[in-house]
Amino acid sequence: MNWDPWIPLLVVASSLLPGLLIFGLAEERIRLRTVLNLVGAVVKLGLVGLMLWGIYHEHHYETRLALLPDLELVLRAGPLALLFVTLSAGLWLVTTVYAIGYLEGSPHRSRFFGFFSLCVTATVGVALAGNLITFLLFYELLTLSTYPLVVHRGTQAARRAGQTYLIYTFFGGALLLLGTVWLYSLTGTLEFTPRGFIAGLETEHRSALIIIFFLLVAGLGVKAALFPFHGWLPQAMVAPAPVSALLHAVAVVKAGAFGIVRVVYDVFGVETAAALGVTAPLAALAAFTIIYGSLRALFQDDLKRRLAFSTISQVSYIALGVAIAGPIATIGGVVHLVHQGLMKITLFFCAGNLAETLGIHKISEMNGVGRRMPWTMAAFTVGAFGMIGAPPVAGFISKWYLGLGALEADQGWVLFVLAGSSLLNAMYFLPILHRAWFRDPPDAWPVDHHFGRKETAWALLLPPLVTAVMALGVALLASYPFSPLEWAMLIAEREFYRP
């Protein structure tokens, strides 16, 4: 029997089924819940590994299920889809380990892990979606599954943040739906196609297509936290650290950015989008968001809030890379999908460790914390330098390709945006590192949980160390086959710029 058509569905199911089972578990069934979580994550990772090998050797994985007359639920694993799936599956495993340690002893863990699994299911669905309607379905499922995670703590601030999150994302979803329906009425298809499926319509429906493009980008821009749709993200940082990590690095903002890549390349096609004149405003908006996010980050004392504004800035690199509309910049944008994920998840894990172990939430409380938690701060340092774009961390590779791509596309102004952003990143990350490593620690920390000779619990310490090593590894081994960079090149070659 040929299993290839079912593998994409199995990948989705590998987190959906454990999630549904976990919902039914009693709170005290800790071991079974942990086993379900980890088995699901490992199985998903195994299946993704299998698909990676297959796609590299030009195998074809596609699941089609009838949804409505003329509309199918399509799950297809192409190189781009697999890049995002690999990121989600890999970081889900790490985040699960972290969440198990982070939530130890706290209430409503079955609910949390149930929605956690659903969230990853939706993300993987978004990644594997073979048409716009499948994308839309999983995109909305993502909204619904992340809301309970944002409000998990049940505090007033959490509820308010959840409300804001819902308002923004439903608004975005509505725009996306409107754009999708309008597009379907013009084209009669929503199937993602290399180089887009609207070629030939641009003269007849030029204005409509331009409006549809901006409807889709605005709908996706809410989750991608593009200015001016970013307001929900800094508020959502009241969620527990594993959720923040998931929102910022794996699921929500990435789904938005990934959607923008899909719209530009597989719905409109980059040449058609450029001919319609919509890539230049997108590039300008992304550039503005990059600088705006960094400027806002500069003035935050709350660590997670600073990281949230940093995400707003960093995720727009992806949109910028796509909007520059050239193969090299696309590689930079697409690879940043992975690189930003690794660096940002490291930073959020570290922020969680500081909060859980020492009760540190503010940057002004971080004096000398490097002495008390050297490994956590070492991981944080790697993430921070990556964000600045310093070698040999992942961010350097992204900025390298974005910069080169800008020169190739004759858009030298992007270099100034990159330089300005790096400068601002340095301005808001280096003072944190200075405080943590070189200032004297206070006489007492806000709280001080002791874990024997370790600085914190293993489940909290290992995930940031692993992701920090990965953030270094993907840069140091950037030229290796199967590295995110090589994979992004494969994507550009096979999907976006195949003659």
Binding site: G389, P391, W400, G403, A419, L423, F438, S479
Partner: protein, 422 residues
């Protein structure tokens, strides 16, 4: 076979200090700072050109050692060994010490732009950690200035790197120099890279952090100032800039003037505030000024630059070692006598005595030259004597210290006018 071993040694030179930088891994090792430099010291003794291409590392990185790199490596080994010996440092500072060392050695051995950029970045930030760790308030203030310049330099260098990568796929130094000499973005690349190295090396007018660190930092830091940011800034300029390939008189002139200004400024500051402690600092500023002036000449007259190309690295290494020796001697005497120690007055008195005796000698020589009717030489000696009297008077009235910048600008205008009149 031996070539392979040498090639692996190249990698080991960088990896070994990086490995030892992790506190846990060096916990049971005695003298980790000395141990870390051993592979590099061994490499200086292997008189064979070796290279190692690591296509899988970063965007493709190459390490190589040739006669030029060996000069710089020898200087670096000498400075690191001395720095490791002169001051004991804490366990935490040792981490930064070794990180900086790894970055420094990596930058020396890097044969391409990406490798150099990567290792010099590690070196730069590691050195900041080393500075700040255990430094007093003055050191921290200078460190702040240093890191601002470092970030700005890294940004400029990254932009230059992008321009180079856009012009050529082969990012080895020689290829980039060739490609950039004929590129449409040569001018932008040149100024970006030059600005970066001027900032990194603390060349005038961005020397403030450098001189204030010479004033306030420990001896090992002062030694490393010469060997790490300054030397690598100058080495970077030699390797990155397309020199000796085509003439560009305008930029060359600007650079020449900057170089001369730096020398003049440093000399004036030296004679006006002659605390012994500042001698290496201002000498370093003067030396970097000399280098920049030579760069300017090389731009105006590429043939001259090529003619003396073989001297660049030996001179640079020699200059570095001389400055390090000066720093060491001054630092040792400082260790023995603090600034307010009467012994320091003795040092001052000694230098004045030497100057007075020198004056007597000059007058005697002048008379003798008159007697043997060698008037031109006598006249020259008289000029020297008068100049030393003027300098001595300036020291007394402290005019130069208050008006150094103005005097420098004034003399510069004079130079510019003389050039125009030519």
């Amino acid at each position: 076979m031996s070539e392979k071993i040498y090639a692996i040694t190249l990698l080991f030179v960088v990896l070994w200090p990086l490995f030892l930088a992790v506190p846990m891994l060096r916990a049971r090792l005695p003298w980790p700072r000395h141990l870390a430099i051993i592979p590099a010291a061994v490499l200086t003794l292997i008189f064979q050109d070796v290279s190692l291409d690591l296509d899988w590392l970063l965007l493709g990185t190459r390490f190589a050692i040739d006669a030029n790199a060996r000069w710089i490596l020898t200087m670096s080994v000498a400075i690191w060994l001395t720095a490791a010996t002169v001051n004991p440092v804490s366990n935490r500072a040792t981490t930064f010490f070794l990180l900086t060392m790894a970055g420094n050695l990596g930058a020396v051995l890097a044969a391409d732009l990406v490798g150099f950029f990567c290792f010099s970045t590690i070196m730069g930030y590691g050195f900041y950690g080393l500075l700040i760790q255990g430094g007093n308030m003055a050191v921290r203030r200078s460190g702040r200035l240093y890191i601002i310049f470092l970030v700005a330099a890294d940004l400029a260098l990254f932009e230059a790197l992008l321009l180079a990568a856009f012009a050529t796929e082969d990012l080895r130094f020689v290829s980039v120099q060739q490609a950039m000499a004929g590129s449409a973005t040569t001018s932008l690349y040149f100024w970006m890279a030059l600005t970066a190295f001027v900032l990194r090396a603390g060349i005038w007018p961005f020397h403030l952090w450098l001189t204030s660190l010479f004033k306030s930092a420990s001896l090992s830091i002062c030694l490393l100032l010469v060997g790490v940011p300054v030397a690598m800034g100058l080495v970077g300029a030699l390797r990155w800039l397309p020199l000796g390939l085509s003439a560009s008189v305008g930029p060359g002139l600007v650079i020449l003037i900057i170089g001369i200004t730096a020398i003049m400024y440093a000399v004036l500051r030296l004679v006006s505030r002659s605390t012994l402690r500042m001698l290496p600092g201002w000498s370093t500023v003067a030396a970097t000024g000399l280098f920049i002036a030579a760069l300017g000449v090389g731009l105006i007259q590429p043939a001259v630059w090529l003619q003396y190309a073989y001297l660049q690295y030996p001179l640079l290494a020699g200059m570095g070692i001389l400055l390090a020796v000066m720093t060491l001697i001054v630092g040792r005497s400082q260790d023995r006598h603090s600034d307010d120690d009467p012994a320091m007055d003795r040092v001052e008195a000694l230098s004045r005595e030497v100057a007075q005796r020198g004056g007597v000698m000059l007058r005697w020589s002048q008379n003798r030259l008159h007697q043997i009717r060698c008037f031109w030489l006598a006249l020259w000696l008289k000029t020297v004597q008068q100049a030393s009297v003027v300098i001595d008077r300036l020291r007394t009235v402290n005019v130069v210290s208050q008006w150094t910048a103005s005097i420098t600008v004034f003399v510069l205008i004079g130079l510019a006018l003389a050039w125009l009149a030519r």
